[in-house]
Symmetry: C2
Subunit: 457 residues, 2 copies
C-alpha cells in the first residue's frame, strides 16, 4: 500500500469502541502502523480515563515517541495516571528538548521531584537546558549530538554513528570537536558514507562552520537554517565548545509561530499564547483582546475631539459628515498596505535590498500616486451625492493628503520601531489605521474650513 492518510476522528472513534469493549489486542493492532503524531492525536481525543489505557498498550519504544507529540496538558494528565515507575521511565527516555518543554508546563514541585529521580546524566542535561532563556537557541536545542574527532578514520566514525544511531535525534549532521570539546568542523552522513574507509575525518570534514551560541534568538536560528537549507545547526557556548544542535523540524515550528505573531499583530491581537486560543474559554479570550482594543479606542477618541472642536464647519455644511468614514477608511487601507509590506520585508530580510530610506521615500511617493487615483473616484462621487463643489474639493484634496501621510507613516513607523529595538509589528495595520483616522479627520475638516473661509472672503 502506498498511501496512508489517517482520519483522526475515525481513528479516535474506533479506539474508543475497542477500549470500551475491552478488546486490547485490536487496539494494539490499530495503533501499531500509525505515525506517532497520529496516534498521539487520537489518544488526546479520548476521554481522560481511556487515554492512560490506550497509552499503556503502545510498545515501549513507540510510547515515548507518541508521548513527545502529545500536548502538554495531556502529557500532564497522563503523568498523574501512570505509576511512578512508568512515569520515570518515560521522562528518562524523552529527548532532552521535549523533556524541557514538558517541564515548562508542570508545577515546580513535580519538576524538582522528577529531576531528582532522573539518572545523573539526564538530570545534568535537563537542568542545563532549563537554565537557558526561552526563545533562545539554548532552549530549542537538543544535547544529543554525535561528535567525532579529527583523528578518527571514516570506518571508525561509521561504527560510532551505528552505535549511537538509536539514541540520537539526528545522525545526518556530524560534528567534529577537539580535546577541549571545541567545534572544529562538520560533516554530513553523506560525506561519511561516500568517504574512503581509511580517510581521516580531519581531511573529509568542512572547517567553515555556521554556528550559533546558546543565547542566539530563535528567529535568527530559523533565518540561518532557512537561508542555508541546513538540516541542523550547531550551538556552541562562549568558549566555542559544542553544547547541542537545533534541528530543522523545531525551526519549522518557530517559523509558524513568527508568522502567527505577525498576523495577530495585524489583526489587533496580542502575540504570545495564541496556540492555546482554541482551547481557552470565552472570558479568557475577551480578556486577552480587550487591552489592544482599549489602547486603540483611546487613540480614536482623538477623532471625536477633533470633530467636536470643528463643529462650526459641520453646522454650516452638514453634508461634509457623509464622507468622513470613506476618507479615513480608505486612508487607513493605504497605510495598512505600506506597514504590511515593510513589516513583512523586515521579517523575511527582503527589505535589505532597498534599505530603509529608499523604502520610505518610495512608499511616500506610492501613497501620493494612490491618493491621486483615489481622488479621481472620490471627487465626482462626493460632488454628485452632496451636490456641493466645496465638499467635493475638500474630499479630493484630503484624499490625496491622507493617502500620502498614511503611506509615509505606515512605512516609517515600523522602521523606526525596528531601529529602536522595539517590535515593528506594534506599528502594524490597527495602530496605523487608528492614527490615520485622527489625522484624516483633522485634515479633512481643516481643509473644508479653509475653503469656506476663502469663499466667504
Amino acid at each position: 500500500m502506498a498511501e496512508i492518510r489517517t482520519a483522526i476522528p475515525e481513528l479516535t472513534q474506533y479506539l474508543g469502541r475497542l477500549l470500551t469493549a475491552g478488546n486490547y489486542d485490536a487496539v494494539k493492532q490499530l495503533l501499531e502502523p500509525e505515525q506517532p503524531v497520529d496516534a498521539a492525536d487520537a489518544i488526546s481525543n479520548l476521554p481522560t480515563l481511556q487515554q492512560a489505557i490506550a497509552f499503556r498498550l503502545l510498545p515501549k519504544d513507540e510510547a515515548i515517541e507518541v508521548y513527545e507529540y502529545l500536548e502538554p496538558d495531556v502529557q500532564q494528565s497522563l503523568l498523574e495516571r501512570l505509576r511512578s515507575s512508568e512515569v520515570l521511565e518515560l521522562v528518562e527516555e524523552m529527548s532532552p528538548d521535549d523533556r524541557v518543554r514538558l517541564f515548562d508546563e508542570l508545577p515546580a514541585k513535580v519538576v524538582s521531584n522528577l529531576l531528582q529521580q532522573l539518572s545523573p546524566a539526564e538530570r545534568r542535561v535537563t537542568a542545563q537546558l532549563l537554565g537557558y532563556e526561552s526563545g533562545t537557541a539554548g532552549r530549542l536545542m537538543t544535547t544529543e549530538v554525535i561528535d567525532l574527532k579529527e583523528f578518527h578514520t571514516a570506518a571508525q566514525a561509521l561504527t560510532i554513528v551505528r552505535r549511537r544511531a538509536r539514541t540520537t535525534e539526528t545522525v545526518y549532521s556530524l560534528y567534529v570537536t577537539d580535546g577541549a570539546r571545541r567545534l572544529t568542523g562538520i560533516l554530513s552522513l553523506r560525506d561519511l558514507v561516500t568517504a574512503d574507509p581509511d580517510d581521516l575525518i580531519g581531511s573529509v570534514m568542512t572547517r567553515e562552520v555556521v554556528s550559533v551560541t546558546t543565547d542566539t534568538d530563535q528567529e535568527e536560528v530559523a533565518r540561518l537554517i532557512k537561508r542555508y537549507d541546513f538540516l541542523a545547526l550547531p550551538v556552541v557556548d562562549r568558549e566555542e565548545r559544542l553544547v547541542g544542535i537545533v534541528t530543522v523540524d523545531d525551526v519549522i515550528d518557530v517559523i509558524e509561530q513568527e508568522a502567527t505573531r505577525d498576523l495577530y499583530a495585524a489583526g489587533a491581537l496580542q502575540a504570545g499564547d495564541e496556540d492555546d486560543y482554541f482551547r481557552s474559554n470565552l472570558f479568557e479570550v475577551a480578556r486577552r483582546r480587550v487591552l489592544w482594543l482599549l489602547v486603540l479606542l483611546i487613540t480614536n477618541t482623538g477623532t471625536s475631539a477633533v470633530i467636536a472642536s470643528q463643529q462650526g464647519v459641520l453646522h454650516r455644511v452638514v453634508q461634509l459628515a457623509a464622507f468622513i468614514p470613506l476618507l479615513i477608511g480608505t486612508g487607513g487601507n493605504v497605510g495598512a498596505q505600506s506597514s504590511t509590506v515593510v513589516i513583512r520585508g523586515l521579517s523575511t530580510d527582503r527589505l535589505q535590498a532597498l534599505g530603509p530610506w529608499r523604502t520610505v521615500a518610495r512608499e511616500a511617493l506610492a501613497g501620493l500616486l494612490l491618493g491621486l487615483l483615489l481622488a479621481a473616484v472620490v471627487v465626482p462621487w462626493s460632488w454628485k451625492l452632496s451636490g456641493t463643489p466645496l465638499v467635493a474639493v475638500a474630499a479630493g484634496v484630503s484624499m490625496i493628503a491622507i493617502a500620502s501621510l498614511a503611506a509615509t507613516a505606515g512605512a516609517s513607523l515600523p522602521l523606526l520601531f525596528n531601529r529602536l529595538g522595539l517590535d515593528p509589528a506594534l506599528m502594524s495595520a490597527p495602530f496605523i489605521t487608528t492614527m490615520v483616522d485622527v489625522a484624516g479627520v483633522f485634515i479633512y475638516l481643516q481643509t473644508a474650513d479653509w475653503l469656506l473661509t476663502r469663499m466667504a472672503g
Copy 2:
C-alpha cells in the same frame, strides 16, 4: 574557527574591488570558503558585467550550486553573458526542480532552445515537471531519488547509495519500488546504516508510507511534512509509481509564501508576486495595490450613502457626527480580531479542535462581551464631550451592537468562504472593517433617530 556569519555588503564590496583590480586569484580565495547562498547574494549585488566574471571564477561544482541560489532575473542575465557551451553545461547540471523554476521565468523561445540541447534524460525529466501545474507537488518535487528493491541486501543498498550520493538531492530518505516502479516501502539512511549488512531491504523498510500524488496542493505537502517531521515526502502518479520527492527545504519556502499571503491579505494587498516587491518600480507597486483599494472604496461609499440619507438626524444633533469614526473604527478592530483568529486557525488546522459552529458562536459571544466593556468607556466619554445624554445612549447601544455584529461577521464570513471553496483570506481584516463601517454607521444613526423620535413622542 567555529563561526562564520557573512556580511554580504562587505563581501560584495571586496569582490568588486578585487575584480576591478583584476586580482582574480584573490577573488577565488574570497569566494571559495563561502556558503553557496552567500556567494550568490554577493554576486547578485555586483554590476552586471562583473557578475559574469565573478561567476566564471567559481570552481565548476560550486558554480552550479551558486547558480541555483541566484534570483531568476540574475540567472537570466548571466545566461545571456555566458558562452552557449557554458550555459548548456550549467543548465544540464542543475537539479530538475531548480531548472524548472528557471525555465518558468525565461522566454518560451529560450526554453525550447535549451530543452532541445539538453541530454535526452534531462530533457525528459524537465518536460515532465513543466507539465505539472504550478503550486502542486509535481512542480515542487525533484526526480532525483534513490530507489532500492526489496531483494537488495543492506550492503548492496549502501553501495548504490554511495554511487549515487554525489548526484542526488538527498540520500537520507530511500525509497523501495517493485518491478513496475510502484512504491512499496521507505527507509532512512539511518535504518540502512544500522542494519546488518546481510539484512534484506524488504525486511528493514517500513511499509506504511505517507505519500502524495503529483497534483496534490503544495500547502497539503507542507502540512504533511510539518506534521510528521519528515525530511522528504514521496510523490507518486495515479498508478502509484514513484515519480519524485519533495524535500523539507522546499517546504519551508512554501510555508513562508503562505504566511506572506495571509499577512498580505490582512493588509489589503494582493497575494501572488509579493516576492518581487522590493525589486519592482513605483508604478508597478501602485498598480498592484489600487485594485483592492478601489474595491474597498466602492464598498465604503455605502457609508456616505447611509449618512447622506440620515442627514435629518445629524442636522438636529450635530454632535452625533463626532463619534462616527470612533464607533466604526473600534467595531472594525473587533471584527479584525475575529477574522484573524479564524483565518489563522484554518491555515494551521487548529480550528478543527472547536469546529465551525462553536467557533462562530463563541466569537459572537466574545463580541457581545467586548461590546459591553467598550461601551462602558464610550458612554461616559461621549456624554462628557457632547453634553447630551441622547448621544451617549446612542453611542453606547451602537457600540454593543456593532461589536457583536463585527465579531460574528468576522468569524462566519471566512468560514463561509472556506466552505464554498474560496480563499478565506479574502474575508480578512480590510474587507470586514469596511463592511463594519457601512453597517456601523447605519446602526448608530438609526438608533439615534429612534431615540429622538421616542423622546419627541
